[in-house]
């Protein structure tokens, strides 16, 4: 995890966009590894496919169409730093009150979820609980998610389709 922090630091410093994109791919792989360690195999698999795969391809594709160097040295980072630090501070304040790591009595482990783990066998009978929750219990979220993907696809078509006669000014 500390490696992730390092790669992000380099991303901030570097101005070569190609390097930044490769690094963000590596970052995604590291993230996927952490996720496996956290037992989130489905999420890890998706993150590896999306973060390291699709995102990198898309970014490189877009980069190919644009310039690969950041032009200006960034200026006056004090205000942005202040804003993002205060967000971080708020979050530190918030997370310090959260239940301990891996506390089995934490609310998320005692409410709602037990039904997924204990009764799913009778109700849905699919060994992978993530699939069961994703497609059945919270199926409407996934319908929304599919719609989001569709929106993005149709949106990209709307934006990038070549115009036969002259482009927009």
């Amino acid at each position: 995890m500390s490696m992730m922090a390092v790669s992000v630091l380099v991303i901030i410093r570097s101005r070569n966009l190609f390097g930044v994109i490769v690094l963000s791919g590596i970052y995604s792989f590291l993230m996927a590894t952490v996720l496996v360690a956290m037992d989130a195999v489905d999420v890890a698999m998706t993150e590896a496919a999306v973060g390291a795969g699709i995102s990198t391809v898309l970014l490189l594709g877009a980069l190919y169409l644009c310039k690969s160097e950041e032009a200006h040295p960034p200026k006056k980072p004090f205000l942005p730093l202040l804003v993002s630090m205060s967000v971080g501070g708020m979050l530190v304040y918030g997370t310090l009150g959260l239940p301990e790591f891996s506390d089995p009595q934490a609310p998320i482990h005692v409410h709602v979820v037990p039904r997924y783990l204990n009764e799913m066998k009778q109700e849905v009978d699919v060994p992978n609980v993530v699939t069961a929750v994703l497609a059945s219990y919270r199926g409407f979220d996934t319908l929304g998610e599919t719609t989001v993907v569709f929106t993005a696809g149709a949106g990209v078509v709307a934006l990038l389709r070549r115009r036969r006669k002259g482009r927009k000014p």
């Binding site: 496919a49 877009a62 169409l65 849905v124 992978n128 996934t142 319908l143 599919t146 149709a154 990038l160």
Partner: protein, 142 residues
């Protein structure tokens, strides 16, 4: 890259396996990690791989663009259609219990079709986006 024999042969050998893997991820999602979304991504990746080795024009012949655009829409329709089927059979929206006399089998059936819908849309969208970006590239080259 188009004329590199070794690459072409390797690609020919690899792509069927990638497709097979996509199907495995799709249908094994009930038992292990995976599901419609991941399968869709892998499926699209296989075609993108093909396009990189054999060129965009060849890929377009194998997977034509109107098909891709329809796939985006059909996937959502399949998913939403499963929901409507639940309605027609007397349940609530997206109710899989009523899809089969045996409620648990109904759940299986519902999840299966829903995952098919997700995979269709995802692979369609990913491919379409790839085609779109690739097309723009040509404009700049000209």
């Amino acid at each position: 890259m188009k004329n590199d024999l070794i690459l072409r042969v390797i690609a020919k050998l690899l792509i069927p396996f990638i497709l097979l893997f996509a199907l495995y991820v799709q249908f094994h999602g009930d038992f292990g990690p995976g599901g419609g979304f991941q399968a869709g991504v892998i499926l699209a990746a296989a075609v993108i791989f093909y396009a990189l080795i054999y060129g965009l024009a060849d890929a377009r012949k194998v997977v034509p663009e109107p098909l891709v655009e329809s796939m985006m829409a059909i996937g959502v329709l399949i998913y939403a259609g499963v929901g409507v089927a639940g309605l027609l059979l007397g349940g609530n929206y997206l109710d899989y219990f009523v899809l089969d006399p045996n409620p648990v089998r109904g759940q299986h059936r519902g999840i299966f079709w829903v995952e098919v819908g997700v995979a269709t849309t995802v692979s369609g969208v990913m491919l379409k986006i790839f085609y779109m970006f690739a097309d723009r590239g040509k404009v700049d080259e000209e």
